[in-house]
């Protein structure tokens, strides 16, 4: 199976994240960045499928130049090669535009499966797999906590609010995974060394046949009008239990008119 894994570079959730006051987009330059956590699980799942049934794992990232660091990490985990879509004109693209651009690149690749993470920690939209399935006409198998791919069929367990659905589709298909699915490996020293010489293709808008008018902040179908930083949540009172802790909490709840 040939698998494309969608990996996004995001600001570290532990860092202080902010919006740029000028263009009201995510300030990606001033913060520490990491691979979107759940995307590590997507990479791991692809590697496991490859180890079981052969094929190649390709990493696909859309993002600024420094996203190469994240691509290297995925390669050092064991992916075979990578495609990096990067162009200043992509800056400020919203999710719908991003799916157009990534969809264009997918059209140039041969794959049986595309695996994304279920959610990026910056946007928290959880929509990319659905957007891409709609764009490409491929089946959407999203929110998978288990994936089995055999022959030309993929089957997933999709987490629902009260259990799970079993969903099945022919390949090629677009999958997204939740973190229940596996335990991602750490890159080995050997993997880190090998990653340096793995093939990395860098694509501009023109290379990928992406129309400039369809991407970027100026033409984004959704736009931030204004934003305000809110004061951080203040810690309230912290009380040590003196044998009446339960009563103390009940009194607090009563003071808030909750009980």
């Amino acid at each position: 199976m040939n698998i494309v894994v969608l990996v996004k570079q995001v600001p570290d959730t532990w860092a202080e994240r902010k919006l740029d006051a000028n263009d009201k987009t995510l300030d990606r330059a001033s913060v520490d960045v990491v691979m979107n956590e759940i995307d590590e699980y997507a990479v791991e799942e692809a590697l496991r499928i490859k180890e079981a049934s052969g094929g190649e794992v390709t990493i696909l990232t859309m993002g600024p130049a420094r996203a190469v660091e994240t691509i290297r990490k995925a390669l050092s985990m064991g992916a075979d090669k990578a495609v990096h879509l990067t162009d200043d004109a992509l800056a400020g693209s919203d999710a719908v535009q991003t799916s157009y651009a990534i969809g264009k690149v997918l059209d140039t690749l041969e794959y049986d499966l595309v695996i994304a993470g279920s959610e990026a920690t910056d946007s928290r939209m959880s929509v990319m797999a659905a957007l891409l399935a709609e764009r490409t006409g491929r089946p959407q198998l999203s929110g998978a906590r288990k994936v089995t791919a055999e022959g030309g069929t993929v089957r997933i367990e999709r987490q629902t609010d009260n259990g799970y659905d079993v969903v099945e589709a022919p390949t090629p298909a677009i999958i997204s995974v939740v973190e229940k699915i596996n335990e991602p490996r750490y890159p080995s020293f050997k993997g880190i060394m090998a990653a340096k010489s793995k093939p990395l293709t860098t694509l501009s808008l023109a290379d990928a046949g992406i129309e400039a008018g369809q991407v970027g902040l100026a033409s984004a179908p959704s736009q931030v009008v204004e934003f305000a930083n809110k004061p951080p949540r203040q810690a309230g009172q912290v009380v040590k239990d003196e044998g009446d802790g339960g009563v103390k909490i009940a009194e607090f709840l009563a003071s808030q008119k909750i009980v």
Binding site: Q140, G163, K180, V238, A254
Partner: protein, 317 residues
């Protein structure tokens, strides 16, 4: 007045509370029309009329439940084409966001997710980065497709014509690509839905084992609350995965969130920190959960929680 389409979330004919919230919100934006899809849609349609829907569009085609997400987006896309609504409101649940995404592509529209408020100018407010930034966003292209978080509006009843109209849609092969072959129910019913509950009581690793979760459940029941869990607790198999709160679990924003034996890791906070009031019970005074708790109690949950449950019982008489 322009029509506002509201997708009703229902379980086999019983609408979820969020559907009433969205219809209430839609009344402040235009003329609300409910869209009710799938198995049980007719039964659900009878109930949404009380929330001011002028029209109720119903489609019970078997494809809607037989294939994942796409057929629902197809029906909505047809309605957007036929009725030219001013906006489409969809509950901001996992599936709701995916329906919205596909609808945005099908109709060439902009998409906003996780709104907590929408103004009559169709500007949506979102809270990002764990609630530290409030953002006002607007759709510039096509029909605004906006997903709205549960608990964002207080539902209220209102008169509406409630005219039921059966609508049809054609489903492409791509809409029928992912087959739902089985639906397995794992979680026990009886308590309010986690995403919708106005009070949530969650247990973490401090609870110690599956049996002890009965202590958390007893407190939840005394408050009429839903039960949540940290990933440590769901991974250990003490509580069902569906009840996980956090970055990769459910996002909840209740009036009251009670964290029992939970340290407050960033991934857990991501799913609960916009709760109105937060109470934490933890024996470690250094636990990060105390940084965001309105009321923190440093103590042993095995004595504090049963005492709290009993005290609430007394007060409720």
């Amino acid at each position: 007045m322009a029509e506002i389409l509201v997708l009703v979330d229902h379980v086999e004919g019983t609408p979820k509370k969020v559907s009433y919230e969205l219809l209430t919100l839609a009344r402040s934006l235009g003329e609300p029309s409910a869209v009710v899809l799938g198995k049980g849609a007719s039964a659900a349609a009878e109930k949404v009329g009380a929330y001011g829907a002028e029209k109720i569009y119903v489609n019970e085609a078997p494809e809607i439940d037989g294939f994942l997400v796409a057929p629902k987006a197809a029906v909505l896309a047809q309605l957007v084409q036929d009725k030219s609504p001013a906006a489409v409101l969809i509950p901001s649940t996992g599936e709701g966001k995916e329906i919205a995404a596909r609808l945005a592509v099908k109709t060439g529209s902009g998409l906003l997710t996780d709104a907590v408020a929408v103004t009559p100018e169709l500007v949506a407010e979102q809270q990002i980065f764990g609630g530290s930034v409030a953002v006002q966003s607007k759709v510039q292209t096509g029909t605004p497709i906006i997903t709205v978080r549960p608990n964002s509006t207080a539902p209220s009843e209102a008169a509406g014509a409630g005219t039921v109209e059966q609508v049809t849609a054609t489903f492409s092969d791509a809409d029928k690509a992912a087959t739902v072959v089985d639906s397995v129910v794992e979680a026990a019913g009886g308590r309010p839905d986690l995403g919708e509950a106005s009070i949530v009581v969650s247990g973490g690793r401090g609870v110690g084992n599956a049996e002890n979760f009965s202590i958390v459940e007893a407190l939840a029941d005394s408050l009429g609350a839903a039960v949540g869990a940290s990933r440590a607790a769901t991974d250990a198999g003490w509580y069902p995965h569906q009840n996980q709160v956090g970055q990769t679990g459910r996002t909840v924003s209740p009036q009251l969130y009670v964290a029992v034996g939970i340290s407050g890791a960033i991934q857990h906070r991501a799913g609960m920190q916009t709760s109105k009031t937060i109470v934490a019970i933890n024996k470690d005074p250094e636990a990060p959960i105390f940084e965001l708790a309105d009321f923190g109690l440093v103590g042993d949950l095995f004595t504090v929680v049963p005492q709290l449950t009993e005290e609430i019982g007394k007060r409720k008489g």
